[in-house]
């Protein structure tokens, strides 16, 4: 390609001069070596959790620990993990919380961003900064009164208390607002002329056209809800009301001599988020670049 613009280069076969190829090639060897070393070191924990979850104590609970199940793969670790704590029930709890949070954040973010961008709103800047200011408040600094409020309302140890504070998030409002700002305003004027109602325009035009951003928000809110730890640690107190994240920490204290079983629980907790990172990466990237000045 570059040869076409360089008149004195060799035959126009599209190949680079051999010298340059060698230089590029050697530089790439360095890149591959660097990537290879980092790959082995950084992905070892991923390898170990997957393989270790099939190891019997004879392989994983010895010194030096084996890197491969020499005594054979043991699927029983998963069965044991499911018996030690009500993992299936906890899985459902986590899923219920995540679904509530995803739906809640989609609804509250879309409605608020719609008002901020498309509607005639008094004191628009004030509301914008008020909503965004929630991103600056560290959740841990208000976790005590939030816990006390749930205790007063008798919601401790329930699913709703786990989801309620997360039904709206400053990040969600910000993300959706960015997408709405890029929306062609001519469409709104055209819709007005055609007599489309305010809500009709949101539902039939704006939402369908910003689906990728809404998917990104869905993925992000799912990840944060599924993975949360501090709040469920306080709120859910009996095993059958706990989320999977709290459950797997109980596996460790249940039987410290069976790390394979503990790792099996970790793998089970990882399945949904691992699938999202493998197959929903473009939505994750869309979400993370929104705030980073790009």
């Amino acid at each position: 390609m570059a040869t076409a613009t360089l008149p004195r280069s060799g035959p126009a076969t599209g190949r680079r001069p051999s010298g340059s190829t060698r230089i590029r090639g050697s530089r790439h060897i360095g890149t591959y070596v660097g990537l290879g070393v980092l790959f082995v070191v950084l992905l070892f924990p991923v390898y170990y959790v997957l393989v270790g979850s099939f190891m019997s104590p004879a392989d994983i609970n010895t010194f030096p620990a084996h890197l491969w199940p020499l005594h054979g793969f043991v699927a029983g670790n998963y069965a044991t993990a499911l018996q030690v704590i009500p993992l299936a029930r906890q899985y459902l709890n986590s899923a219920a919380v995540a679904v509530l949070v995803v739906l809640g954040q989609l609804i509250t973010s879309v409605l608020a961003a719609y008002a901020l961008v498309f509607l005639r709103l008094r004191a628009r800047r004030f509301w914008f900064f008020l909503l965004l200011s929630t991103m600056m408040i560290p959740w841990e600094s208000i976790i005590i009164p939030n816990y006390l409020a749930m205790a007063e309302l008798g919601l401790v140890n329930g699913i709703f208390a786990l989801a309620l504070p997360y039904l709206a998030a400053g990040f969600g409002v910000f993300l959706v607002r960015q997408a709405f700002l890029a929306f062609p305003m001519e469409l709104r004027d055209a819709a007005r002329v055609d007599g489309v109602s305010t809500f009709g325009f949101l539902w039939r035009v704006v939402i369908p056209l910003t689906r990728p951003t809404l998917a990104a928000l869905g993925v992000w809110s799912f990840l944060s809800a599924w993975n949360m730890y501090f709040w469920p640690l306080l709120i859910s107190q009996t095993p059958e009301n706990q989320t999977i994240q709290i459950g797997i920490t109980q596996l460790q204290s249940a039987d410290a001599n069976d790390p394979g079983m503990v790792l099996a629980g970790v793998v089970l907790a990882l399945v949904p988020t691992l699938l999202l990172v493998l197959f929903g990466q473009r939505f994750i990237v869309r979400g993370l670049t929104a705030g980073s000045g790009k």
């Binding site: 924990p45 030096p64 841990e140 009164p145 705030g291």
Partner: protein, 307 residues
């Protein structure tokens, strides 16, 4: 002109406008209700509680003025907590930025398998604090952990990753850095991917070598992303809790008791229910986070290259 014809056009427009403004406000209400109930009211209540004594059930039990704050300032344990917190921030933010940068720069080279490597290095992003901490807890087990096993193969003695007060904070930081790497790499890769090809070609034609290209050309162009990661990484490190609670419960010898862990300890652990003193620490956390955010924006923003 039309004389006494009832509603003048401007009046009608005014009324319609007020209705529109009211309708717009209605769209804000759901988000506002959540934020008022779970952010703004609790914030006020945190401040209130921090000036109250707590009875043994944790109920506010009389105004004590700034006593909780004075106690914090004069308590050497709390000074140590703040130092541990600062150490933890440095031990997580700097390594995660450096390793993430190396990864992103390596992946920016035009090589095959880029997609494979990028997906692979993003995998830690799937881990929650609980899954990562439980996994690293198993791997760092002093007796049978796989890390000490591998070290023994090269003749290194067993390290008390979670039991040695001099090492435990580093171990918790390693776990946190590992969890964040996928995110750091994705942000920086997105930044590098946005560097226009002609900028890179121009630098090459000017004779820039690979290393020069990366440090002199690419690095300044992704300062917005680096800045973003420093701010969010610092705040995230300040708020870390799960990995500490799971791996070390603040020990050994309080060597991993950070500010957030201390809040948990005072307010929730062992049914302590000392919500007054805990709230004072929570307000300190809030002030620290806000101050760092402000300082970082003030100092760093000027050095950031925005085109």
């Amino acid at each position: 002109m039309a004389g006494a014809a009832p509603p003048r056009p401007s009046e009608r427009a005014g009324r319609g406008r007020r209705r529109e403004e009211l309708a717009a406000f209605v769209y804000l209400v759901p988000a506002l209700v959540v934020f008022i109930c779970f952010f703004f009211v609790p914030l006020g209540r945190s401040v209130y509680l921090s000036f109250q004594r707590s009875d043994i059930f944790g109920r506010p039990n009389g105004f004590v003025g700034a006593r909780h704050y004075v106690e914090l300032l004069t308590d050497p344990d709390f000074g140590r907590t703040l130092l541990v917190t600062l150490g933890f921030v440095l031990l997580t933010v700097i390594p995660s930025l450096l390793i993430g940068l190396v990864l992103a720069l390596l992946l920016a080279g035009r090589i095959r398998l880029v997609r494979f490597f990028r997906t692979a290095f993003a995998l830690p992003f799937a881990f929650s604090v609980a899954t990562a901490a439980v996994l690293f807890g198993v791997m760092m087990d002093p007796a049978t952990g796989v890390i000490n096993s591998l070290l023994s193969l090269v003749g290194i003695d067993a390290v008390g990753w979670l039991t040695d007060p001099g090492v435990a904070l580093v171990s918790v930081a390693i776990t946190s850095v590992w969890m964040q790497l996928g995110y750091t790499m994705l942000v920086l890769s997105a930044g590098l991917g946005a560097v226009p090809d002609d900028v890179i070609e121009a630098a090459r034609l000017d004779g820039a070598s690979g290393l020069q290209l990366q440090t002199r050309v690419m690095l300044p162009l992704i300062t917005p992303q680096l800045f973003f990661l420093v701010v969010t990484g610092t705040i995230q490190a300040l708020q870390s809790f799960g990995q500490i609670n799971i791996l070390t419960t603040g020990g050994p010898d309080r060597s991993t008791t950070t500010l957030v862990y201390s809040i948990y300890e005072v307010a929730f652990a062992n049914n302590n229910s000392n919500f007054g003193a805990g709230s004072a620490q929570a307000i300190v956390l809030l002030i620290v986070v806000l101050a760092i955010t402000a300082v970082q924006f003030g100092v760093l923003e000027r050095k950031v290259y925005y085109n």
